[in-house]
């Protein structure tokens, strides 16, 4: 379901993104932040108590992939023309209304184009990957433990599922697939509403109407034995940037096979009226050989965010378990008829 698709932003909004392209190769997230042009007349809005105002509903859909495609190796930033070409071919290739590819591909494409909403545009900086560090735009190598864990998990997901715990957290309707932390673009509903009070910042992700409350008062993280699916977040301001530190994850995590030692640092910076720059750094020495970072400019959107009640209507879990049991039964009966 994590396929790219369409995002419905007016062109004008895309043009406003003011991250400097071109000099982006090899930048860390800090460097990306410093490359913002200072010449813009726009003044960052402030809340009445003087904090940068990051509030609103933000859409993080994009067809820019997390990792730089192999055929774009060495090319950190696309030209305007290359970006347009990339958008065109990606959308054509991924159009779920295509009926070529046979039955298995058909089932995988699931349903008509209108149900999907994963973006029509690359990000405004035209970087070829969301990953900004390492410089090659690729997720760093896995540790041996990370590889083992990933393979075991992949084997389990190939099915058939013995029970719900064999499936992903979003198929179980425990966590949204794109909500994180960190937040990563998914197939649809890539929306988060941000609320601010003097004491906290709250991130309400549409999937699965999950409100992540981030206290700003400097209190310590929860005790290390108190683990949560979404971890435990603490926030602080660094200049105009909100820095959110999240630890205390449970096992299994929702993020690319990371371990419960996962440590996520997110940075939120309002770069212009319509753009919230979202950067995250992943640090999990049990899974990856080095930390890695990505940057996603989020676009202001009108919303609203709709309710996403998931578990209440999760016929899919019933269907996939019933399907697995039916196939096992059929195999048993076939074996009985023809025991070799």
């Amino acid at each position: 379901m994590k396929r790219s698709g369409m995002c419905h932003f007016p062109l004008a909004v895309i043009a406003i993104v003011c991250l400097t392209p071109g000099s982006a190769h090899g930048q860390t997230t800090k460097a990306a932040a410093n490359s913002r042009p200072a010449a813009k007349k726009w003044t960052a809005p402030r809340t009445p108590w003087g904090a940068p105002d990051l509030q609103g509903i933000w859409d993080f859909a994009t067809i820019t992939p997390m990792e730089r495609p192999t055929d774009l190796a060495g090319k950190a930033v696309l030209t305007d023309q290359e970006a347009a070409e990339f958008e065109k071919t990606t959308l054509e290739r991924r159009n779920p209304d295509r009926r070529d590819g046979g039955a298995a591909a058909d089932v995988g494409r699931a349903y008509n184009y209108v149900w999907w909403d994963y973006g029509t545009r690359v990000i405004g900086t035209r970087r070829s990957s969301l990953i900004v560090d390492p410089p090659d735009g690729k997720i760093p190598p896995l540790t041996p433990e990370g590889r083992k864990r990933g393979e075991a998990r992949a084997a389990l997901l190939r099915g058939p599922a013995a029970g719900p715990e064999d499936r992903n957290l979003w198929e179980r309707c425990i966590l949204g697939g794109n909500a994180g932390p960190p937040m990563t673009p998914g197939a649809y509903n890539n929306n988060v509403q941000l609320f601010q009070t003097p004491e906290s910042v709250v991130l309400l992700n549409e999937m699965i109407n999950d409100a992540r409350i981030v206290p700003l008062d400097g209190r310590p993280h929860l005790a290390s034995n108190v683990r949560q699916w979404r971890g435990d977040s603490r926030g602080r301001w660094e200049g105009n940037t909100l820095v959110v530190d999240t630890t205390n994850f449970r096992d299994p995590t929702n993020f690319r096979g990371a371990s419960s030692s996962l440590h996520v640092v997110e940075r939120f910076t309002r770069v212009d009226a319509g753009t919230l720059l979202y950067e995250f750094t992943i640090d999990d020495p049990k899974t990856w050989t080095r930390p890695w970072s990505a940057a996603i400019p989020m676009k202001k959107t009108e919303g609203p965010i709709y309710e996403y009640a998931c578990h209440e209507g999760n016929y899919g879990m019933v269907n996939l378990l019933a399907g697995a049991r039916a196939e096992e039964k059929a195999a048993e009966e076939a074996a009985k008829k023809d025991p070799r």
Partner: protein, 145 residues
């Protein structure tokens, strides 16, 4: 020979589909629905469940033997449709639709709505996107409020 070419296209199609989902995410469509059991149904909507994670359209299908079968057809997240301006009144009971899909693996009368159309061939949720060409659906949503 044509058949061999089709196999190759199928394989490439599968690769493209896999390549198009770069994240390790794997959804359960293949676990729920059987690629070996394609169905094509024409039925009357009795109700539509505008629910997550998937919307479900309930239809009554008249079989050749005169019996009526009740089918449940899976769609995507309704939130996407709501943003395109559709509401719970957009698919009313009594509407006749055609479903091109694949039946549930457990043999029950459920199918994924791979392609949903009206009997005249128009896609069910036309919106501003026509037959799938990328357009700005948000304008439609805003103008309908």
């Amino acid at each position: 020979m044509r058949t061999i070419r089709c196999d190759r296209v199928a394989a490439i199609g599968l690769l493209l589909v896999v390549a198009a989902a770069p994240l390790a995410a794997h959804h359960a469509f293949a676990a729920e629905f059987d690629a070996r059991k394609p169905v094509r149904l024409e039925g009357t909507v009795t109700k539509m469940e505008w629910i997550n994670p998937h919307a479900w359209i309930h239809i009554d299908v008249k079989r050749p033997d005169g019996k009526t079968e009740q089918w449940m057809i899976e769609g995507g997240t309704p939130n996407t449709l709501l943003r395109r301006g559709f509401t719970k009144r957009s698919v009313l009971p009594g509407t006749v639709i055609v479903v091109d899909g694949y039946q549930a693996k457990d043999g029950s009368t459920k199918a994924n709505g791979r392609d949903l159309t009206f009997p005249d061939g128009r896609k069910l949720f036309l919106g501003s996107s026509g037959t799938g060409a990328p357009k700005d659906g948000r304008d439609v949503t805003e103008s309908k409020r």
